[in-house]
């Protein structure tokens, strides 16, 4: 199966992510890859996707891809702007968000996320930006979708720091820690899709993107990756999808 057009692995990742979103869903959007995917979905099959950014905008309809989660166009096109306390306390915390859509620097096999440090917290080799809205998005959204590029540096056996809890050490930790949402349902990478095993909650490779070998995914994972018995192939990007993603102009450019 060959695409009639060439595309990049990042385009494939964004398109695969956009496909997961449904019209009228309420999505809490992290900046970066999730924001791009959500805005792509809005241009394709989900024009009434309701995007919530942590800066306080509800239902923004930007024409360009925002560089920051507080860009002017988000405010100008929003159904409503509320304060940051309202976003977190009134909208996120009570479980009103359908999809929490997150990126991260690192992930482990239970879909816990690190965006804080590489190395020791008190003396890090790389200091990352930190948590932002992620911990509570991961905790309180009804479902969580994660996007990050797959490599042994990003898919690691043990996180140096848990910024946002996926499933902790297995199927019981979310309950133990009082998290109200059901946690990650999918991890979308540039190589394929991973989903938690319904019983163990360990991530399992369920889809390969077109032309990606399963060995490549296994090699790009810092733990012994489980692969689904029925490994499926992601549908190729359509002409419409590629046109839409290429017409997404960043506000910064």
């Amino acid at each position: 199966m060959e695409s009639s057009e060439t595309y990049t692995s990042d385009e494939m990742m964004s398109i695969a992510a956009a496909r997961q979103l449904r019209n009228n869903q309420i999505c809490f959007i992290g900046i970066g890859l999730p924001s791009k995917a959500a805005n792509l979905a809005r241009r394709l099959h989900a024009p009434d996707l309701i995007m919530i950014y942590e800066s306080g905008t509800i239902g923004a309809k930007p024409t360009r891809l925002p560089l920051s989660i507080g860009d002017g166009e988000l405010g100008e096109t929003a159904d409503a702007i509320v304060s940051v306390p309202e976003i977190f306390n009134y909208l996120l915390q009570p479980g009103r968000i359908d999809i929490g859509f997150l990126g991260a620097a690192q992930i482990d096999k239970f879909a816990n996320l690190n965006s804080t440090v590489i190395g020791d917290y008190r003396k890090p080799s790389v200091r990352l930006p930190g948590a932002g809205g992620a911990p509570e998005i991961a905790g309180a959204s009804k479902r969580v979708i994660v996007m990050l590029r797959q490599s042994t540096k990003s898919f690691v056996e043990k996180l140096p720091f848990i910024t946002s809890l996926g499933f902790g050490t297995g199927p019981h930790d979310r309950k133990k820690y009082g998290l109200t949402g059901s946690g990650p349902v999918m991890v979308i990478t540039d190589l394929g899709l991973l989903e938690p095993d319904p019983n163990t909650k360990e991530l399992v490779l369920t889809h390969l993107h077109p032309n990606i070998e399963v060995e490549k995914v296994i090699e790009s994972t810092g733990w012994t990756l489980k692969v689904a018995d029925e490994l499926r192939i992601t549908e190729l990007p359509s002409k419409a999808e590629l046109e839409a993603i290429r017409s997404l102009v960043s506000a910064g450019s």
Partner: protein
Amino acid sequence: MAEVVSLQDGIRHLLKDGDSVALEGFTHLIPMAAGHEIIRQRKRDLTLIRLTPDLISDQLIGMGCVSKLVFSWGGNPGVGSLHRFRDAVEHSWPQPLVIDEHSHAGLTNRYVAGASGLPFAVMRGYRGTGLDEFSTTVAPIICPFTGEELRAVAAVNPDLSVIHAQRADRKGNVQLWGITGIQKEAVLAGRKSLVTVEEIVDELDPRHGDVILPSWLVTAVAMVPGGSRPSYAAGYYQRDNDFYVAWDSISRDRDTFLAWIDENVL
């Protein structure tokens, strides 16, 4: 009632070495000019409080004004790392930086508690994360009705809270609109507050979505047109996204950074 002052006098009289200072503005209305004045006045040993430490925080940290950072996301939005922040944390340059790190929800609720005259706020969060382990301003709390375990976050009450707003009137009533983030809470949590504004007008005509801070809730107002650049002020000017991108290379190297500050701030 708020006093109308110059930016220079405002920073000079309201902020002293060793103080805690909140600079708030969520992408929009970031009080950049006030940050630059803090650099020019070479304030030292500050505790800087800010949800999203970005360029202004990078500059204050790089110039050695800040000994402690209370924050929840320290990056250059949509661009990448804050190199001066990283250099301080990773290599203690120009001096060590103590951090008190939270999630946005957590630091937001610390401001809410501070604004509400309470010693703490209650929230769901932190449990199971590294933030819970390392922060001394997060603690378990049990619901007296349900027995459920939640988290308390300690109130934050900055010695000075600084924000930028679109307008004030001559009595010192402040008006801001657009994305207003955590600014109301930051001002109310502050023991003192300084608001820089694009303009001072005779009358604040209503604007849709505006937040009004009555004069009696504000310590001082200073007129600083463009005081938020390269951030933006809805109704006045746009975000200079190019500069945010350019900051990555300006700030990556210590000498380039110092040269830029020398040329553009001092």
